[in-house]
Each structure stands twice: as structure tokens, then as C-alpha cells.
């Protein structure tokens, strides 16, 4: 299913006055995948999306959406690509059913099924202003997929929602994923990208600094997993041999014993070996495990003094980084 490129962006550049919003950006979105566009505010994510939708004209570079140039055929592109725009709304007094009637085209999907799938079946007569934050975003999802687009673009869909509402919206996006819909998801919530995206693209200062699956980015940039525990008092005399044994475990990079608190750092696979080793001795009651995650990876990418070049793919052999 995943493979055919729906969107191909090459060398996209867009400036606003003296500020370069997007700088020679390359991006592919293939059919059937959920791609996350990540980056700090002002990284150029929304501008990129607007160029893909034909809402902004690039200064240079090429954008191809299903064989169409959005700068020339914007109306046609927007028939093929459903979207939810950042900071967009509906009129306060417009009801859910009226919004759907207004936005539906001749190729629209069955409305009842959509409202049911996105949990809005009972809200047809509810005005937009009376919807909760989560319901509004789910309505935007319904409108984005209403006319059976080839792809949907979701820009900061869950911004400002409480955790429960965010989970509701995630569930709705998973409905899309299960249906095989291609999604370009702009977000700065890393847990959202980690939960939903097949692939993420990290932008900084208008450029792509790395791309890959969330797992690949974690391996490349998130640093080491850390296991921390206190050494039992009666074993303190045996700390030396204990530390030596941990150092020899697969994937372990360093072991430090600081006044009775042992800190083991290594790759994700090393955590299992360390915990298994601990089970053979006295199990510590203050065990702490900090796993590297996408947030740490993206933070590293966004805060490093020099934006890193894309590294070579990292291979994992027998649980260890090579």
C-alpha cells in the first residue's frame, strides 16, 4: 500500500521579507503513510503545508501533488487533498449538519457513516460554538475527509486540547489510518507523532534536519537509556564486582556508582539485560528507567548548535547499536 508518491517537493523556498521561512526543502509523502512534520514554532511547517495546498506560491522549487502544480491548479489540488488548517474555524452559529451540507461535493462520502465513525452522530444540530474542543477537531476531520480526498493535511489538530480530547482526536486519526488514508500531520506534540506517524520529518529554520521512523530518530538522536538504582547496604562492599558485571552486558555504555546509587547507560536493548541481571541479585526498590523517546531526539535536533547532517542509517544487531 505504501509506496506511490502523492506529494513530491523539491528545493521549496519561501521568504517573507527578509525572513526565510522555508529553505530549499525536499519532502515526499507516499500513498498510505502518515507523515509527521515536526519542528519548533517558525520552523516553516505551516508555510510548507500552505504551498502544498496551493494557498501560498513558492519563491522557487517545485511542488507536485498527484501530478498537479498547486501554484497553478490550487483549486484542483484542494479537491484532492482534504485539510484542517491551523487557526481556522467555522461561523459560531453554523450547525454541524449545515457545515457538512455546505462543504460536501458531488463525490462526498456517506455523511451518516462519517459522523458515526467520528462520534458526532448526535451533534448534527449543534452549533459550532457549542461544540467542545475535541468535537470541533473531529468535525474538522470529518470535513477534511468528506469529499473522499487522496490525502489529508492536518495542521496542529490537537493544539489547545485537554489530554482526553487529544486522545479522542488520536482515535479519529487512527480511523483514517485504518482506512489507508494518507495523512500529512503537522504537530509539535512528540507523543502524538510517536503514536500516529509511520515517518517523521524534522524541520529547523526552514530546512529538513532529519527524517525517518520515530524509532530511527530515537536511535540516532535521543541519547542513551538510563537505569538507576540504589545499591543495598549489605552489598556495598561488593560494588566493584557488581559494576564490572553490568559493564559487560550487551549494549551497556557506562556504569557509574555514586555513593551507593548506580547509574547504567546504554542502548534501549541494554535495559532488558540490566534488569535481568538485577533479578538474579537483590531486586532494588528504587529502580528508575528512563527510556530515550522522540521528544529527546527532536529536542537534540532542534537545540544542537549546528544542525546535524542526516546520518547514515543505524543498524541494530543483537540489541546493540553498531
Amino acid at each position: 500500500m505504501i509506496g506511490t508518491p502523492l506529494v513530491r517537493v523539491r528545493g521549496l523556498t519561501k521568504t517573507y521579507g527578509d525572513r526565510v521561512a522555508v529553505d530549499a526543502l525536499d519532502l515526499d509523502v507516499r500513498a498510505g503513510e502518515i507523515v509527521g512534520l515536526l519542528g519548533a514554532n517558525g520552523a516553516g511547517k505551516t508555510t510548507t503545508v500552505e504551498c502544498i495546498l496551493g494557498l501560498r506560491r513558492p519563491d522557487s522549487g517545485s511542488v507536485d501533488v498527484l501530478g498537479l502544480d498547486p501554484a497553478v491548479d490550487g483549486d484542483r489540488v484542494r479537491r484532492l487533498v482534504g485539510s484542517q488548517q491551523q487557526e481556522s474555524a467555522l461561523p459560531d452559529r453554523m450547525r454541524v449538519g449545515e457545515a457538512i451540507a455546505l462543504f460536501r461535493g458531488p463525490r462526498a462520502a456517506t455523511v451518516d457513516g462519517l459522523l458515526e465513525a467520528f462520534g458526532l452522530a448526535d451533534q448534527r444540530r449543534t452549533p459550532f460554538s457549542a461544540l467542545s474542543g475535541g468535537q470541533r477537531q473531529r468535525l474538522f476531520l470529518v470535513l477534511a475527509v468528506l469529499n473522499r480526498p487522496r490525502m489529508v493535511v492536518l495542521d496542529e489538530l490537537t493544539q489547545g486540547l485537554d489530554p482526553a480530547a487529544r486522545r479522542d482526536v488520536w482515535d479519529a486519526i487512527m480511523v483514517l489510518r485504518d482506512a489507508g488514508t494518507t495523512v500529512l500531520l503537522v504537530t509539535h506534540y512528540m507523543d502524538e507523532a510517536e503514536a500516529l506517524c509511520d515517518r517523521v520529518v524534522v524541520m529547523r529554520d526552514g530546512r529538513v534536519v532529519d527524517t525517518g521512523t520515530p524509532e530511527q530518530l530515537v536511535l540516532r538522536h535521543a541519547g542513551w537509556a538510563t537505569v538507576r538504582f540504589g545499591t543495598p547496604v549489605h552489598e556495598s562492599g561488593a560494588a566493584g564486582p557488581h559494576v564490572d558485571r553490568l559493564r559487560r552486558l550487551p549494549g551497556v555504555r557506562s556504569v557509574v556508582d555514586l555513593d551507593g546509587t548506580v547509574e547504567v547507560r546504554g542502548d534501549r536493548g541494554s535495559v532488558a539485560y540490566v534488569c535481568a541481571d538485577l533479578v538474579h541479585g537483590t531486586v532494588p526498590h528504587d529502580l528508575t528507567v528512563v527510556m530515550p523517546d522522540l521528544e529527546a531526539a527532536v529536542l537534540a535536533l532542534l537545540t544542537s548548535k549546528t544542525p546535524p547532517q542526516r546520518p547514515a542509517p543505524v543498524l541494530i544487531t543483537n540489541g546493540a547499536l553498531r
Binding site: 494557498l55 498527484l66 501530478g67 484542494r78 479537491r79 485539510s83
Partner: protein, 264 residues
């Protein structure tokens, strides 16, 4: 869900057919009119304000007052107040509405959904015209039993003046609403334009009692020309043709500027 059945090949002609302009405009007109009916403040300003003020001012002069060129003052004001409806819609309702839509991202949503670029503005022109006609009819229906309706000497010119005036002022309203940063600014600017126009352009004292300076200002106001273009052929005091031409030119210029500089 139906999206799973879509072929991942080149898009079909049906998929990429642009949304038809006329269908889009009609859909937006229907939607916007429905929404206006749910806006009590808008309805109050567009419908109630002209009615209340005309009932007050038309009854404030004796019927033999010589400031109205021999016309019954109440008839003079009833014929003038259709222009107040035009101004209330064009200078206050439309700019605030458009600026609020732009500020809140409603226009972005329409654009992203593939509505043709000018469909929203054309729909607003149609909505402005429909509201002008309905509000004018309501105003006359309320004024008729109180003051009576003056006979219409030249209905074609009166209708033409009302039509062109409504389109011109709605276009000006769209221009204001598209250029100001937000709805609050649109409201401020709109009211700033509305009240002098209202007081000096037909809804306030008659020109005969104005000072020379005030009369000169009044002569320069676009709304004065709309008022005169409606009232003169209605009451038969003059042809109103010169004022109608001014209103037509005003509409042409407003449309041209709107088409060139409007940002959605």
C-alpha cells in the same frame, strides 16, 4: 470508510473538477442568510435602527415645515431612509462580518475546501442586496401605517438607485473588512464612517437647515448621492439622474479597487 477504496492512480477528471462558481455562490448565500437570521445584534442594527430613527425623526417636523422643499417631512424621511439601510449594511454589518471571518480563519477554511476565490465576495454582494431589499420592505411596512407611503413617481430609477447603492456600499464594506486587521478595527472604522454619513447624508437634518460648511461636507458624502438618487425620483422633486450616475461610478470604482486589493 470510503477513502480506503480510492485508487492510488492519477486523479480522475471528476476528482479534480473545480467547484463550480455559481453553485458555490448560491450555497454560500443560502448559508450566510441562514446565519444572519441567528445574529440578533446584526438584525437589530440593520432592521431596527433605521425603523426606530425614521419613526422618531419623521414625526419631529410639522407637515408645513419649509425646510423640505414643499414636501411633507415624513414622506421626505420615509423616502430617504432606504439609504440608511444601505449604509447600515455596507458600512457596519459587512466589514465587521468579513473581518471576523478572516480573523477567525473561516475564510481560510473556505479556501482550503476549494471554494473559488471570488465566491465568498460574490455571495456577500448577493447577501447585502437581499438584506437591503428585505430590510427596506420591513421599514416601509412599519412606516406606512404611521406616516403613509409617498407615491413613487419613477419606480425604475428608484429601484436602480437602491440596487446600485446597495451593491456600491456592500462593496465598500467588503473593501474595509478585507483591509483592516480585525473585527474590532472594522467595527470602529465602520461606525466612524456610518454616523457622519447617517447624520449628514439623509438620516439627519435636511440640507436646508445645515450650515454652509455642513452642506458642503454632506454633498461630498457618497451616501448623500444614494439618498438623493432614491428620494428625488421617488418624490418627483428631480430626476436624480446625476446622483444615480455618481452612485454607478462609485460602484465601478469600489469593485475595481476591491478586485485589485482585497485579501482574503
Amino acid at each position: 470508510m470510503s477513502t480506503s477504496t480510492l485508487p492510488m492512480t492519477d486523479p480522475t477528471a471528476a476528482e479534480v473538477a473545480p467547484r463550480p462558481l455559481l453553485g458555490s455562490v448560491l450555497a454560500l448565500v443560502g448559508s450566510e442568510l441562514r446565519l444572519v437570521l441567528r445574529e440578533p445584534l446584526v438584525l437589530a442594527f440593520v432592521f431596527a435602527f433605521p425603523i426606530v430613527t425614521v419613526l422618531v425623526i419623521a414625526g419631529s417636523f410639522s407637515s408645513d415645515d419649509d425646510g423640505f422643499g414643499g414636501v411633507d417631512p415624513s414622506h421626505w424621511y420615509v423616502a430617504s431612509y432606504l439609504a440608511v439601510v444601505v449604509a447600515a449594511i455596507g458600512l457596519v454589518m459587512v466589514p465587521v462580518h468579513l473581518a471576523a471571518y478572516r480573523e477567525r480563519g473561516v475564510l481560510r477554511r473556505f479556501a482550503a475546501a476549494g471554494f473559488p476565490r471570488w465566491s465568498f465576495l460574490l455571495a456577500q454582494l448577493a447577501v447585502g442586496l437581499v438584506l437591503t431589499l428585505v430590510a427596506s420592505a420591513v421599514l416601509l411596512a412599519v412606516a406606512a401605517p404611521v406616516y403613509g407611503l409617498p407615491a413613487v413617481h419613477d419606480p425604475v430609477r428608484v429601484a436602480a438607485a437602491l440596487l446600485l447603492g446597495a451593491l456600491a456600499f456592500t462593496t465598500i464594506g467588503l473593501l474595509i473588512g478585507s483591509l483592516v486587521p480585525n473585527a474590532r478595527a472594522a467595527q470602529g472604522l465602520g461606525l466612524l464612517a456610518f454616523f457622519p454619513s447617517f447624520l449628514l447624508g439623509g438620516g439627519g437634518p435636511p440640507p436646508a437647515v445645515m450650515s454652509d460648511g455642513m452642506r458642503r461636507v454632506s454633498d461630498l458624502l457618497p451616501l448623500t448621492h444614494v439618498t438623493d438618487a432614491i428620494r428625488e425620483p421617488w418624490l418627483g422633486t428631480a430626476s436624480g439622474l446625476g446622483h444615480l450616475l455618481v452612485v454607478a461610478v462609485l460602484l465601478g470604482v469600489a469593485l475595481l479597487v476591491c478586485a485589485r486589493s482585497v485579501r482574503l
